[in-house]
């Protein structure tokens, strides 16, 4: 793939050669009671990876540890082959970070702000100006770049946040809830932008989000965490297959249909005004079609649905969770 991390220089005993991000038994505690990360072991390859979890699952904490902004309580973390504890400086040179919350001054123009932060990434003045203009063009703010940021809409501000992460030409982008506060159109646009940066610019991306429905539109891999523990790390297709469900709505005779589907080996669950069945593949559609046809019911709607992310991952046996007994290969994204 495009973004090959340079890991060869690292002394022995450190990270996997092809991993962009690697965490080994990573633990972060605040005080004695709050555990933000709990023995997290995961390895992330180049490409776009979704980091999914409910609010408070530890996504932001993980990102800050990766940037070397927080010291982990235990375990190790590597970014682009560099140790987060010792090499935070080098990691921050190669990494762009888009925080979750507002971080923009209102009384500065976008081009000035982004070019200033380009200089803070180590670019000389002329290069910083040039790359600021480039970055703002990539995120679609070229025309408006001389306006003060305070006059921007929420969507435009999110784009400025993305542009400042891009300005230093990073090898890896860490995006924390990039669609926060955006309307549906803004979300779609932001996701397309992320997909484009990952695909065309050759930059690996870690996107943290609590919305699986969004994140799955752009990423190749998914890492799910809950309460600081790894729930699952897998390619997108295998995760979504396991979680897909079919919502069937009929105008009448819903009880009959439920009984009929049960006899065909499906386990329908009443949901809203219809029935929810686990989607195993084409045979599920066939079974529903045949049931409805046999009973002669008026079928009004069939829709692919997904559980919310928390439910989805809780129903899975936590087989992939990195238990202490098998740290190697646990939660390996492939």
């Amino acid at each position: 793939m495009i973004a090959q991390p340079t890991t060869a220089r690292e002394p022995a005993g450190a990270p996997e050669p092809d991993a962009v991000i690697e965490a080994r038994l990573l633990t972060k505690r605040y005080g004695l009671t709050v555990t933000a990360l709990d023995d997290l072991t995961v390895s992330i390859r180049p490409g776009i990876t979704g980091l999914i979890g409910a609010n408070g699952a530890g996504k932001s904490t993980l990102i800050k540890i990766l940037l070397g902004l927080l010291e982990p309580t235990g375990g190790d973390a590597f970014v682009l082959g560099r140790d987060c504890r010792r090499d935070g400086f080098a990691i921050r040179t190669l990494t762009g970070y888009m925080p979750e919350h507002d971080c923009l001054p209102p009384d500065v123009t976008a081009t000035e702000f982004v070019s200033h932060l380009g200089r803070m990434s180590g670019l000389p003045a002329a290069a910083a100006r040039e790359r600021a203009a480039d970055s703002l063009r990539h995120v679609g703010l070229y025309e408006e770049r001389y306006r003060q940021i305070g006059t921007y809409s929420t969507g435009m501000k999110q784009r400025v946040k993305l542009a400042q992460a891009l300005v230093g030409d990073p090898r890896l982008l860490l995006l924390d809830e990039p669609t926060n506060g955006l309307d549906p159109a803004g979300r779609t646009a932001m996701l397309q932008l992320i997909a484009r940066i990952g695909a065309e610019f050759g930059i690996s991306i870690l996107v943290a989000s609590h919305l699986l429905g969004e994140i799955e539109q752009v990423c190749d891999h998914l890492v799910a965490i809950d309460a600081g523990r790894l729930l699952r790390a897998d390619s997108l297709s295998s995760v979504t297959q396991a979680s897909a469900a079919l919502l069937v709505e009929v105008d009448e005779g819903i009880d009959l249909l439920q009984a009929e589907l049960a006899t065909r080996g499906l386990r329908p669950v009443p949901f809203q005004r219809g029935l929810l069945v686990a989607l195993a593949g084409d045979e599920t559609y066939d079974a529903v079609r045949d049931s409805v046809a046999d009973l002669g019911l008026p079928l009004s709607r069939m829709e692919q649905r997904r559980h919310r992310v928390e439910e989805l991952f809780r129903t899975e046996p936590a087989a992939a969770a990195g238990s202490d007994s098998e740290p190697t290969g646990a939660g390996r994204v492939s």
């Binding site: 793939m1 495009i2 490409g47 776009i48 932001s60 800050k64 940037l67 902004l69 927080l70 400086f89 080098a90 921050r92 040179t93 990494t95 970070y97 925080p99 919350h101 507002d102 971080c103 923009l104 001054p105 209102p106 009384d107 500065v108 000035e112 200033h116 932060l117 200089r119 803070m120 990434s121 180590g122 670019l123 000389p124 003045a125 290069a127 790359r131 480039d134 063009r137 990539h138 400042q164 230093g168 030409d169 779609t188 397309q192 997909a195 940066i197 990952g198 695909a199 065309e200 610019f201 050759g202 429905g213 799955e216 539109q217 752009v218 190749d220 829709e303 692919q304 649905r305 997904r306």
Partner: protein
């Protein structure tokens, strides 16, 4: 939702599949030189220095710094005009203390208005995570801000002194007179630097306590102003109500009152270092009474500067990045 998901997922092909496609706007890598930590620090210092004078912050932000700077330069201009009209009168303003009351008021307003622009705005806008996610260390940010504000205060204090010098030198008769002026300028610049270092450190430390600009202005302005008033009042009370202790020596109250305010503290340091007043020097308009306690002023000046600068660095070691 899932229908959208399917459609959007269809647009996004895996990166490997897009290898040969040519796009309108290509992404350009940056392969040229990356500057090190020192250069980044200098860039942040220069950026902050400019912002102390409102450069890069819109027209309104420039009004007060420009006005204050003009006011600070006014005595130098008056001195030049007076000299031109009455060449035999000699300079009317001292390099060492300039015009203390004017300098006090102008610098008080400058520090209270501009220190928040350097540090409070980044706190309020939560910009700090963006800085700390870049290749700088925690300590670099307060150091750059402090150097920038010291430089800004230096510009406010020293440029008028240089103007004063130019005015005096151009009216001087002969090279010897110019040399005398140059010798007197040196200590004046040093005292000016003491002003800049102390006020910048205190101003930034107080401003970094809050992200709200108005609160920060009050947090700087009110204590600086009140302490100055109290110190001046006590000095007068001490010298009048109790009278001198010994012959030619002021009372302890009068001598110690100046320690209460940075401005009188600076005046006290000047008084301590230049005592006894050099013959032929221009008399100061207004002086801090130090009595026997001159060294105490020097010690407190050093302690206050170190404490304020150290406090600023500590403040940014503990600031959150969330």
């Amino acid at each position: 939702m899932s229908a959208d998901a399917g459609a959007a997922a269809g647009q996004v092909t895996p990166p490997a599949a897009q290898g040969g496609v040519i796009h309108d706007i290509g992404y350009r890598r940056y392969d040229a030189v990356r500057l090190g930590r020192g250069a980044i620090l200098r860039a942040l210092t220069w950026h902050s220095f400019r912002s102390a004078f409102g450069i890069g912050r819109g027209a309104k932000a420039k009004i007060f710094p420009a006005l204050l700077f003009a006011i600070m330069c006014l005595p130098a201009a008056i001195n030049a005009v007076a000299l031109a009209n009455n060449p035999s009168g000699g300079p009317i303003i001292s390099y060492d203390s300039y015009v203390p009351s004017l300098r006090t008021v102008a610098m008080l307003i400058f520090v209270a208005l501009e220190a928040p622009n350097l540090v409070s705005t980044d706190l309020r806008n939560h910009t700090l995570p963006l800085y700390f996610a870049r290749p700088i260390r925690r300590i670099d940010y307060p150091l750059a801000k402090l150097s920038a504000f010291v430089l800004a205060c230096l510009a406010m204090v020293e440029i008028p002194l240089l103007l004063l010098y130019i005015g005096n030198a151009t009216q001087a008769h002969g090279a010897h007179q110019v040399w005398v002026q140059t010798l007197r300028l040196g200590p004046g610049l040093l005292f000016g630097a003491a002003w800049a270092v102390l006020l910048a450190s205190i101003g930034l430390l107080l401003a970094s306590a809050t992200g709200k600009r108005v609160f920060a202005i009050c947090a700087i302005g009110i204590p600086l102003f009140l302490s100055y008033v109290v110190a001046e009042v006590l000095m007068h009370v001490g010298s009048q109500a109790y009278g001198p202790v010994g012959v030619g020596q002021p009372s302890a109250l009068a001598s110690l009152a100046g320690l209460l305010s940075p401005f009188t503290l600076l005046g006290g340091v000047l008084r301590w270092l230049e005592a006894p007043p050099r013959p032929g020097a221009v008399p100061h308009f207004q002086q801090t009474i130090v009595g026997h306690y001159g060294a105490l002023y020097g010690i407190l000046f050093a302690a206050a500067t170190i404490a304020a600068a150290g406090g600023l660095v500590l403040r940014y070691r503990r600031v959150g990045v969330g």
